[in-house]
């Protein structure tokens, strides 16, 4: 049944707070199994609460679910869980709409029509699993195990371990996650020598300078940062936001510095110029703990130019102003402010990173932290340990598995593309579509919605059509699972076991336990259990690779590591950072449990575990780079490029590198390549305006579109509901004859979308912005057919080094629609 916004508003009129189960009003909006309704009507009305962890975005906020007679009726934030400290975003607060969504699959289905036809028929779990297991067995028997892939999403920890283990024991190198994490980590790995994204001590900061980090709406954990931000207001922390449009974070900052898309790194280097020129940098840290600041000579006697001279020679304010659009006087002022304000922390976000030059831009942003000495003990950038989970037992691989995992991964770095990434959706789609270097026979899709989220829709859909057997675990069929042959619906997170641990950038090690707050409403399963079952059916070494009877067994196995370590604390009341530090300094652990079962019960009761004690060592131990220091000049980058250039090249190493850089479309040459620098984005010259996209809190990466209340709240800040809009500066709008509310055509070289204009001074004159998350062609009745997906008109460009989608690399024309 389709439902209009008008219908929805009428239906929810007068209803707020928890879900009125069994009431007539919401029967049109929610679909609640009869047995649940009966229980609610006839039960004694007993109220209980259960803690779990949200699964609607990677942040994994702790939530407390209110149950009446064991039926979930309301959700609030878990006040003890340290990531969100009782807060929840609108998505989390409305997660029951997902549980009772009328378009949830009630059991496994098989596609009987073309992709997108919506024609599916029910199939039993046994039949579906037999089909898959038979195909997997046959492929493995014929030595084609590499032709199986799992395209995951943001899963981490135990689920990641399950999926990787399954594929490895089966004999495939093709486990990938279409998640920003591994792409985001590339610039940090280059300068720090370690793959983990650091945390930023925003709580202890005197000034936060953000380069496109819209952390109140976007990024890893908006609720965590919102909580920090509320403390900042109390502490009067200064906030400056550099961004092309005035995001939620910019509008809450003390100052918004508009900057052209693709030039964030240049602005950072302009500020670095002022710090160096005026001796406002931490000379001791730079001298002792960094590499490549000054000019240097390598072991072969070749002279290299250092960061200091590159910056002083190329990034003076007037020149940077030409690149960025930021006045030279502002750059000078910013540099002096950053250099003179104690405890300044610099953070880079998607604005800086989501472009073809994202890696270089983020390196430039991080160079400011190095200049300020923010890596010193107690400084603004730090690395916390990981939750000490027990790893699964070692795998014993048989011959087919050993042979299979040696194959070239279908989505890994290519000869001419994305040399530093573990996965690129661009390369994956192209390889699968071209069946290079081998065809893909079975593809498991776990989480996310790559066809909606990625920039290469056409390549990806062509690739999906090439795969004979696509299996999805989606609970509501979306754009990507329309291409699946079988959909094996997983439980919603409210019915499922799981964990979320060590979310990047959150300033402490943590683990949230996800437990079923209600029994599965429909015939759904945990995806980990499905892979264990498949392993058993395949048998042999694959079957014995599953050491646990079910996913829960593996979860408990991992959590035993926490119990045994004695580190940190279950997130009970009063276990605050300073108290845990107090105990640890004196050699005490905080909790005591008579057995693992007691520890496990406490975890379930309170919702999680954390260890906020920072382990700051001397700076030298922090950087496992070739130099053992923070590297302004990234040796790792140069080593990788040289190795890749020489592979299959001539004996002319310099020529090989030149050739590789040309193929990667990197303009810099010489030492500039390894140093933070401004790498121009290849914008098309025939279109006048930059297009940027952004996420809004009720929708995030598109997931919120399935929930009707989130569609109602989509444009909560601009009074837009169930529709997209394009933000345009008043001068630009006037020149084009556009007023707020007008329909416009936004046209790129890829395509065009029709969208309403919102004229606002909160955007640069030569930039327009469209929110991401609307424009679904599938994903249930509330998502389908509302708004536009701006990714459909973005050029298929990616960061040259990390493979991250470059959502800020497209220019457009805009005109009033008639």
């Amino acid at each position: 049944m389709e439902i209009s916004r008008r219908d929805f508003v009428k239906l929810i009129g007068g209803i707020s707070g928890s879900v009125a189960l069994g009431g007539c009003a919401l029967d049109e909006v929610l679909e609640i199994p009869e047995r649940i309704v009966r229980r609610m009507r006839t039960g004694p009305g007993l109220e209980t609460w259960k803690n779990t962890v949200c699964g609607l975005c990677p942040a994994g906020c702790g939530m407390s679910v209110r149950l009446i007679d064991s039926v979930p009726v309301g959700i609030k934030g878990n006040g003890q869980y340290p990531v969100n400290q009782g807060g929840l975003c609108p998505l989390g607060l409305n997660a029951l709409h997902l549980l009772y969504h009328p378009d949830r699959l009630k059991g496994p289905v098989r596609r009987v029509g073309n992709p997108g036809s919506g024609k599916w028929e029910p199939v039993s779990w046994d039949e579906a699993l037999t089909t898959i297991a038979d195909r997997l067995t046959e492929l493995r028997r014929s030595g084609r195990s590499r032709e199986v892939a799992v395209l995951g999403n943001t899963e981490r920890g135990v689920m990641e371990e399950h999926l990787r283990r399954f594929l490895t024991s089966y004999g495939s190198p093709n486990y990938f996650r279409f998640s920003p994490e591994q792409n985001d980590s590339v610039p940090f790995a280059l300068v720090h020598g370690r793959p983990d994204i650091p945390s930023f001590d925003l709580l202890g900061a005197g000034l936060v300078l953000s380069f496109g980090a819209n952390f109140l709406e976007d990024g890893w954990s908006p609720v965590y940062y919102t909580k920090l931000y509320s403390r900042h207001r109390e502490q009067q922390t200064r906030y400056i936001q550099v961004e092309s449009r005035m995001s939620m974070t910019a509008s809450n900052a003390e100052r918004w510095i508009p900057v052209r898309p693709g030039t964030y790194g240049a602005l950072a280097l302009g500020i670095a110029y002022v710090l160096i020129r005026e001796d406002l940098f931490n000379e001791r840290f730079v001298r002792n703990d960094t590499f490549g600041f000054e000019d240097w000579v390598d072991t072969a006697g070749t002279k290299h130019i250092g960061f200091r001279n590159i910056v002083l020679g190329n990034y003076y304010p007037e020149k940077v102003s030409e690149i960025t659009g930021v006045p030279a006087a502002t750059i000078l002022e910013l540099g002096r402010l950053v250099g003179s304000t104690p405890k300044t922390v610099v953070i880079g976000g998607s604005g800086a990173g989501d472009n073809t030059n994202g890696t270089f831009s983020q390196m430039a942003v991080q160079s400011l932290n190095a200049l300020l000495g923010n890596y010193d003990p107690g400084g603004g950038v730090f690395f916390h340990g990981h939750a000490p989970l027990d790893r699964f037992p070692d795998l014993t691989l048989d011959g087919p598995a050993k042979a299979g995992i040696r194959a070239e991964p279908l989505g890994g770095p290519g000869k001419d593309a994305y040399p530093l990434t573990g996965f690129s959706i661009d390369r994956f789609a192209k390889n699968v579509a071209a069946e290079e270097p081998y065809p893909l026979s079975v593809l498991f899709l776990y989480g996310g919605n790559p066809l909606f989220q990625a920039l290469n829709h056409q390549d990806l859909s062509a690739a999906l059509k090439k795969v004979p057997l696509v299996v999805s675990f989606d609970t509501i069929i979306n754009e990507t699972s329309e291409y699946a042959n079988l959909v094996l619906p997983e439980h919603t997170f409210l019915e499922n076991w799981g964990e979320v641990s060590d979310v990047p950038t959150v300033g402490f090690s943590h683990l949230g336990i996800r437990q079923p707050v209600v029994e599965a409403l429909h015939d759904t399963r945990n995806a980990g259990d499905v892979f264990i079952e498949l392993a058993r059916r395949i048998g042999g070494a694959v079957g014995s690779s599953a050491p646990f009877t079910d996913y829960l067994g593996g979860l408990k196995h991992a959590v035993r590591g926490l119990y045994r370590s004695g580190e940190g604390s279950v997130v009970t009341r009063g276990q605050k950072t300073r108290w845990l530090e107090y105990l640890q300094q004196r050699g005490w652990q905080s909790g005591r449990y008579s057995s693992f079962d007691e520890f496990w019960d406490q975890l379930l009761t309170h919702g999680g575990w954390w260890n906020p004690v920072r382990r700051d060592g001397k700076a030298g131990g922090k950087f496992p780079t070739p130099s053992g220091k923070y590297e302004f000049y990234s040796r790792k980058l140069m080593d990788e490029l040289h190795a890749r250039a020489d592979r299959g090249g001539t004996t002319d190493s310099r020529g090989n590198l030149e050739s590789l850089l040309s193929r990667l479309d990197i303009a810099a040459r010489g030492d500039n390549v390894a140093l933070p620098h401004h790498e121009p984005v290849p914008y098309e010259g025939d279109r006048p305006l930059y297009l940027v996209t952004f996420q809004v809190l009720p929708n995030r990466d598109g997931v919120g579109a399935a929930l009707p209340m989130m569609q109602e709240m989509f444009g909560y800040a601009v009074h837009a509901h169930w529709e997209s809009w394009v933000e345009i500066h008043p001068e630009t709008a006037a020149a084009a004859g556009i007023s707020s509310g007008d329909w416009t055509w936004v046209e790129s070289s890829v395509g065009s979308v029709r969208v309403r204009a919102r004229v606002t001074p909160g955007i640069m004159p030569d930039v327009v912005a469209i929110p991401f998350g609307m424009g679904h062609t599938s994903y249930g009745r509330y998502a389908r057919g509302y708004g536009v997906n701006p990714n459909t008109i973005l050029r298929n460009l990616h960061d040259r080094l990390s493979g991250k989608p470059a959502t800020g690399a497209t220019k457009i024309r805009i005109s009033r629609a008639v």
């Binding site: 370590s565 004695g566 105990l583 050699g587 005490w588 382990r615």
Partner: protein, 387 residues
């Protein structure tokens, strides 16, 4: 010296203590929640954390039994009230349970000890002769367990517990050589542990001990047979070893553990003479046991009601709490029986604001008390409210 002390204390003391009036907090650390949530930490530091408007509670000056601590708090009430007014924060009020938790927590802090010093630990390890038997970093003796092997944990309590358990073996080894049994004091163990942690790069406490539970400690005291020889004041028993209620055990856990360690050989001899097995501890047992002993001094010795009546009169309490309701405050005879000093403290704390206001308007001074006066006052009030 220790031997002399030991035998002096071994005099049979048939004393008993009255039944405890204070219910020990099941977990003394619960009081930290009160300490934080009532805002105490905003003014008082603990181990470097917290505000500086008030004195640091890590100082010895702010330590004592229930009534000693109550005296300290009572006497600086006017100063504290002024701070509250300056900072524009409300004076917190406490329930009896919150007050019990808070006092238990503040008392417990000393038990938790202080962080060790690496440099001093290194010197101690050499000067105490530990390296003659135990190796570290490839050098040192090979008789004892290599200290590098302590990878599981780096908790001082874990180390001292391991040391205690190997007293018999060590004594035997010492008898074969000319080594001197190393005696420990003060922060020694914490310092040595800090050094071992750094030397082995084991900077994380893994699987270490949790702060002791006095209730469990009482059970361990019985189950290990400690009460066969020692008495604690709880119950009558003929004793052959020091009466622990008469020893100052209000020190950090490592200091008390050091005291136990120091008298280990003597105790071992004593036990061998009587064919008693050496008590060994596992897991958290030693921490619990010492927590129990530590809390033996939590409650004050009984005061003198007669003297307390004098304090009541001399400090002018009677001008408000006069008999037959003659004062502005309630007549003691009408107040519910005080069965715990905590209840008295709670009431005194909660009414301190209004009392100070009244004293200021009447041009009277705040009635300061000594520790003895507080004990006697409680004894008097307890009698006076007895139903």
């Amino acid at each position: 010296m220790v031997r002399t002390l030991f035998w002096m204390l071994c005099i049979i003391v048939p004393g008993t203590l009255s039944a405890q009036e204070i219910r020990l907090p099941q977990n003394p650390l619960e009081g930290r929640i009160v300490f934080e949530e009532k805002g105490c930490i905003e003014c008082h530091q603990l181990g470097g954390y917290g505000g500086t408007a008030g004195p640091s509670l890590s100082k010895d000056l702010y330590f004592g039994t229930v009534l000693e601590l109550a005296t300290i708090i009572w006497n600086h009430t006017p100063q504290m009230n002024r701070k509250f007014r300056q900072m524009r924060v409300s004076r917190p009020e406490f329930t009896e349970k919150e007050m019990t938790d808070l006092f238990g927590f503040l008392y417990y802090l000393r038990y938790l000890g202080e962080p060790g010093g690496v440099a001093r630990g290194k010197k101690l390890l050499e000067s105490k002769g530990c390296r003659q038997c135990h190796s570290l970093g490839g050098s040192g003796g090979g008789v004892g367990v290599p200290l590098d092997s302590i990878t599981v944990t780096a908790s001082p309590l874990y180390i001292v517990q391991s040391m205690w358990n190997h007293v018999p073996a060590m004594k035997e080894q010492i008898s074969k050589t000319n080594l001197v049994y190393p005696e420990l004091s003060g922060q020694d163990i914490a310092d040595i542990t800090a050094y071992i942690r750094q030397a082995t790069m084991n900077t994380t406490v893994v699987g270490g001990a949790a702060p002791g539970d006095p209730h469990l400690g009482r059970e361990i005291f019985a189950s290990k047979g400690c009460n066969d020889c020692h008495m604690t004041g709880e119950g009558k028993r003929k004793i052959i070893a020091p009466n622990l209620s008469r020893i100052e055990l209000r020190e950090s856990v490592t200091e008390t553990a050091s005291l136990m360690w120091n008298h280990g050989p003597m105790m071992l001899q004593h036990m061998e003479d009587r064919s008693i097995d050496w008590p060994r501890f596992e897991g958290n047992e030693m921490a619990d046991l010492i927590a129990y002993l530590y809390f033996l001094d939590f409650e004050d010795k009984p005061g003198d009601p007669k003297k307390g009546e004098g304090v009541f009169a001399a400090r002018g309490c009677g001008s408000c709490h006069g008999k037959n309701g003659s004062g502005k405050g309630p007549d003691l005879a009408t107040i519910t029986h005080f069965d715990s000093p905590i209840r008295m403290i709670q009431l005194m704390w909660n009414h301190a604001q209004s009392m100070e206001d009244m004293l200021i308007t009447q041009n009277k001074h705040w009635p300061e008390l000594t520790g003895d006066e507080m004990r006697n006052l409680y004894a008097y009030i307890r009698e006076a409210t007895k139903k």
